[in-house]
Symmetry: C2
Subunit: 315 residues, 2 copies
């Protein structure tokens, strides 16, 4: 299987420059002195999550004549808004397939970018997306199972090494695995001394089980849906799992309470709003299971329900 | 009266480089299309507020032999932590005079930086600080009434113009006036087309009254203490007022409800935690009283009580 290379990621960085925010590394002096801490705040991207990087790269890489036919995506989360936002920037149409049970606030946010929202029954997303592709001639932009999406997310790794060349540990949440595949590929190529640590909720630890088994292990969607970290309920594809086996040094699992405590700490100490998924890397850091040395935690997104954030802050 | 110049601000930028975060301008595509919006997130500084810039510049500019005697400050807010943090970085002692009624959380935060906290009765801060200076030989670092502090805050203005040369409007909160004096001086020198707009809470609008009168007008501390924006309860000094008369094109006042709505919007749309003072520039923008064109709002700080933020988020 052909894996994404650091050159693919460099090409992605050239393609998306100017279209996505070049996020800073934020020093967090309240971290553990033996593991100096920086945050990579991808929640500051226009749609509140790293997903814009992969979406812009995948759309920018299309042949212009193909791109003009528009794009299609299926997602109930940040990928929906990322593709809608990127399509609007390119001035092309976007059709986003979302399950009927998607909260209205997310449907509205996707429509606000000018996308057509196609509602579907639970579990029918991929099938309905194929129908939309057949009907519109648009190009499907998958949420993680595509080299251009992985390379786009990998630009975060380039920026981390550029800003902190002697980084010892990079901690990244794992769901479908596109983010960790891309970042891990960039970091291993450019800072081979660094350890790349994945993190999953204990309640959606399919990748931890898969890495231990040496092959992909399936967890039911009912099991994975138990975690509060709603961005971390997907499972890797063959393509992303092959990357994860290559680039991850270890994978730490965190409890629901750990995740809540990390959301609270990031809000009060780093002054960043994160969704539960976005705080899991800090939760892994707080577990003190990661090695000494300069450490970066990737804050992957900030789209949290206000009532949930209020509840966590009220303690 | 000698005003701070853009050369003073450039020198400050050289002095503080590497010690404070070079914050990005964050595009906010959810803003008004006629007034494209960017946020300058000073809440991401190590102590959660812009105050580190002035504190680092003032301490860095001291003669090393003088600096070795340590520094003294009086503040119940962000200036306390900024001076304590900067002093710790320089490896010198800091004594911070705080009123007895200061919340314990802020006293603890200041001590965590290694500073000595000297508690005093209400209204006695400046007198007690003078006594500490006499006793320790340390140098007083005032919160705003000093050219080096103004020049340090002005580095924000340099960065805004560097990142967005065709900026049309910069909106800045006004309290003691150091922040607006510094930013206004830099912006007027480097982007003369830009309007510099101050913002105050209606309940602490002493500077609005002063600018209208053409001289400083005193509002009682009881009046100023009514606003939820606890970082905007100070009044300009002669020095900062002279700057404000020169650099501000206008001053907008905002209601308490406007401020709360802006805290909520920044949390949910920009994924940043702000204290009420830190959201006032966005509140002014939301009032639609500012002119068309590219607009930057300065998000000055993020040190909010968790219970207050939870209340605002819960709506």
């Amino acid at each position: 299987m052909q894996l994404v290379t650091v050159d693919d990621i460099r090409a992605a960085a050239d393609r998306i420059r100017g279209s996505v925010l070049r996020t800073p590394l934020i020093p967090a002096p309240w971290g553990d002195p033996e593991r100096p801490l920086w945050l990579k705040p991808e929640n500051l991207q226009a749609i509140g999550a790293f997903k814009v990087r992969g979406a812009f790269n995948a759309i920018a890489h299309l042949d212009p004549a193909v791109r003009a036919r528009g794009v299609v995506a299926y997602s109930s989360g940040n990928h929906a808004q990322a593709v809608a936002h990127a399509a609007a920037t390119f001035g092309i149409s976007a059709s986003i397939v979302m399950p009927e049970e998607t909260p209205q606030i997310k449907i509205d946010a996707t429509r606000r970018h000018g996308a057509e929202v196609v509602l579907c029954a639970a579990g029918q997303r991929e099938k309905v997306a194929e129908e939309v592709v057949a009907r519109t001639g648009g190009v499907l932009i998958p949420p993680f199972d595509h080299p251009d999406v992985i390379a786009g997310q990998g630009t975060i790794g380039l920026e981390i090494v550029e800003d902190l060349p002697d980084v010892a540990t990079v901690i990244v949440p794992v769901s479908g695995g596109g983010l960790a595949s891309g970042i891990g590929t960039a970091v291993k190529a450019l800072a081979p001394q660094a350890r790349v640590v994945g993190v999953e909720p204990e309640l959606a630890a399919d990748t931890a089980a898969s890495l231990a088994a040496g092959h992909r292990v399936d967890w039911s969607i009912e099991d994975r849906n138990r975690t509060i970290a709603d961005g971390l309920r997907s499972q890797p594809s063959e393509l992303t799992f092959a990357h994860l086996q290559t680039v991850l040094d270890e994978l730490i699992t965190v409890s629901e309470n750990d995740i809540r405590a990390a959301v609270r700490e990031i809000a009060l100490r780093a002054h960043l709003v994160t969704e539960p998924s976005g705080a899991t890397a800090l939760a892994a850091y707080r577990s003190r299971e990661t090695p000494p040395g300069p450490t970066v935690v990737v804050v992957s997104g900030g789209n949290v329900e206000p009532a949930l954030l209020a509840e966590i802050l009220a303690g």
